[in-house]
């Protein structure tokens, strides 16, 4: 069996606020295999971004804290690592692309300085070598006239260009895992198509494993091999991309897929999930989705179902399937 690049086991990340403990990530387990694109989908507040930040231990502490579980990167647990050790991993073997390229680039440094920083730090390259490497990276991500862009500041670039710079920075040390947190949400569709194409090429050509966090089911369908659906801090369904779209098991996944308007069909009304995402607090009882679920039973309000496998690598956290199985 191949060792997964990343294996997150029973991860708990909490935020300790004035209003009490918020379990933003509540026992999440997932893994990313080598060369795979794993999608994490869910609505705002479901814990998908906190999961990705936890992997790189970028959760601001306080108020946040990883309170349990393990994050195995190629078999090595990252949770007990010291900040200094994490630094040698970040940007080297695991790197990250953020949603908002304007706020994640430093406005006071040129693009070249920022991209070159990673290789100078991790690979010990000299200034001149780093510069040559940076030009190569910029060319790789499709930036026109890379030698000139190198000496420009982030504000001189457009949104799509900035996101390319972010990607150039992320791949400059040829990472084994790339975490992309909503990489195209702030971009226009035609630019989004360019960036997705770039990420796909990196995955196919370099075999970089990608963890893609998004709320856009269209992006998931196009990019990912496997999908993890999150709701209120928990994984509710996990499976191959085709299984998730063709045969979604969890009522939330079903609702989510149905509520997206499609280009290739016309419906008079959109399906919608009633209600809102619940506010999280410690010691919640029952299924998190129960109050919005069309097929909720009394059991759902009392006890939380387990994430269970219902087919080849397709698992779901729902009582409906468990009770059906018992009946059979």
């Amino acid at each position: 069996m191949i060792q997964p690049v990343l294996q997150v086991q029973n991860l708990h990340t909490c935020f300790f606020t004035d209003r009490g403990e918020v379990p933003a990530v509540d026992g999440v387990s997932l893994m990313v295999n080598p060369g795979e694109v794993l999608g994490i989908v869910g609505e705002s507040g479901c814990g998908k971004s906190v999961t990705s930040l936890s992997v790189l231990k970028l959760i601001p502490e306080p108020p946040g804290k990883i309170t349990g579980g393990s994050i195995l990167f190629k078999g090595r647990d990252l949770v007990p690592l010291k900040e200094r050790e994490m630094r040698s991993i970040r940007g080297d073997s695991i790197s990250m692309i953020f949603q908002e390229p304007m706020t994640s680039l430093n406005p006071l440094f040129t693009v070249g300085d920022q991209i070159g920083e990673a290789v100078r730090l991790h690979r010990g390259l000299r200034r001149k070598e780093a510069r040559r490497h940076t030009v190569e990276m910029l060319r790789k991500v499709g930036i026109p006239r890379p030698e000139a862009v190198l000496d420009e500041y982030p504000h001189q670039l457009s949104g799509g260009m900035r996101q390319r710079v972010m990607i150039a920075m992320a791949i400059s040390c040829n990472p084994e895992l790339l975490i992309a947190d909503e990489p195209t949400t702030a971009l226009d569709v035609t630019i989004q198509a360019q960036i997705l194409d770039l990420i796909r090429r990196l995955n196919e050509e370099n075999g970089t494993a990608v963890m893609l966090i998004t709320h856009d089911l269209g992006v998931v369908a196009e990019m990912c091999h496997r999908v993890v659906v999150m709701y209120a801090g928990k994984v509710v369904e996990e499976g191959a991309v085709c299984d998730i779209f063709k045969n979604p098991l969890h009522p939330y996944t079903q609702g989510l897929i149905q509520s997206v308007p499609r280009m290739n069909e016309q419906r008079s009304r959109l399906f919608s999930i009633p209600g809102n995402v619940p506010v999280l607090y410690a010691d919640m009882k029952g299924c998190r989705f129960a109050d919005r679920c069309p097929s909720a039973m009394s059991l759902c309000l009392e006890r939380l179902p387990e994430l269970r496998e219902y087919g080849a690598a397709h698992s779901c956290r729902c009582w409906i399937h468990e009770t059906q199985e018992d009946a059979v």
Partner: protein
């Protein structure tokens, strides 16, 4: 040309007609210089909106769709052009009369977080338009507000609360209720669902459709999400760099798009279907600066099929098919040898 315009003006089914609307913003290039350069946010566009329809304005950021929405309500003053609402040219109206006219035309904003006053209760927010226009007694206003909050799917207990106590979807409902409070005929919805989650987005889209049926509203729906536009709109105009490149009924536009930009835009939308493998047209480069718009067709710098004439002459929006208008030299009558065909249809 003018004959055509006159004919259109007489048609009662048109609630709104935009003629050669322009909005230029001066670029200040130094402390003592200004006004020698302009951002052509909206650059000579014309279209009309029928009563009771949902007219979509789509395009990427910076294409001028929001500016169009605001300029036609005169929330920002247009630089040139006419906006005819129910037969009356509102670009010429003095401020006092314009304010009265605004009762009939309202707007719903994109960001439900910044468009509601955080210091006012929902009741106050919904009552304000009524107060401004001096409608009803205190009791009547209260009844109207109570009704409004029901109509958008919230309860009366929500009226005492402040905006920060609501989720994004609920705030957007409040924004819609506020727009409805004066019983307008036209609502400009500027990216009303872009900031919302998928499951909440569909709730708000459904609400907008229900309200349209109930109150006979006409919508101008501004969005960048092409799948939502397809779902809600009857006709769609595609904008690029301040110009309309194509106008058609939703069915025409999505089934047989004509302008190369529209074709590329539609092909770029990711579909939630993993089996679907499409030929994607990846547009190279980015949108040029609206200060230095390219000579000729604004799209020619990224157009995969551009020819010489595209770099020299700006294409006019011309009718190519029953109500389908495209601004592209490649689709103009002469290029495809369609001249005879189009001549027969009276053009």
């Amino acid at each position: 040309m003018s004959e055509f315009e006159n004919r259109r003006e007489l048609e009662p089914e048109h609630l709104l007609q935009i003629d050669h609307l322009k909005k230029y913003f001066p670029v200040k290039s130094g402390p003592f210089r200004k006004g020698d350069q302009y951002v052509k946010a909206v650059d000579d566009i014309s279209f009309s909106v029928r009563r009771g329809e949902t007219f979509g304005l789509v395009g990427e950021s910076g294409c001028g769709k929001s500016t169009t929405g605001r300029a036609l309500l005169r929330l920002i003053e247009p630089t040139a052009g006419r906006v005819v609402f129910e037969g009356e040219d509102i670009t010429a109206l003095p401020a006092k009369q314009l304010r009265k006219k605004r009762k009939d035309m309202q707007i719903v904003f994109q960001d439900p977080f910044s468009s509601l006053d955080p210091r006012h209760t929902v009741r106050r927010i919904l009552e304000e338009p009524l107060l401004v226009h001096g409608i009803g007694s205190a009791q009547e206003r209260q009844n109207i507000v109570n009704k409004l909050i029901d109509v958008v799917g919230l309860t009366q207990s929500h009226l005492q609360r402040y905006p920060h106590q609501f989720s994004g979807g609920q705030r957007q409902r409040i924004g819609i209720a506020r727009a409805l409070s004066l019983q307008p005929k036209l609502i400009v919805a500027d990216e009303p669902v872009s900031a919302l989650d998928v499951s909440i987005q569909s709730q708000v889209v459904n609400l907008l459709q229900d309200l349209q049926g109930e109150f006979g509203l006409t919508y101008i729906f501004i969005a960048h999400d092409l799948s939502v536009v397809k779902h809600i709109c009857d006709r769609v105009a595609v904008m690029y760099l301040g110009r309309i490149v194509e106008i058609a009924s939703t069915a025409q536009l999505y089934e047989s798009p004509q302008h190369p930009y529209t074709i590329a835009l539609l092909s770029a939308v990711p579909e939630p279907d993993p089996d679907l493998k499409r030929e994607r047209i990846l547009l190279q480069g980015e949108v040029p600066s609206p200060v230095h718009t390219p000579v000729g067709c604004a799209f020619h710098t990224r157009c995969p099929v551009a020819v010489d004439i595209c770099r020299a002459k700006r294409p006019e929006l011309t009718e190519t098919d029953n109500g389908h208008q495209t601004a592209c030299h490649l689709f103009s009558a002469t290029f495809f040898g369609r001249k005879s065909h189009l001549a027969k249809s009276g053009l």
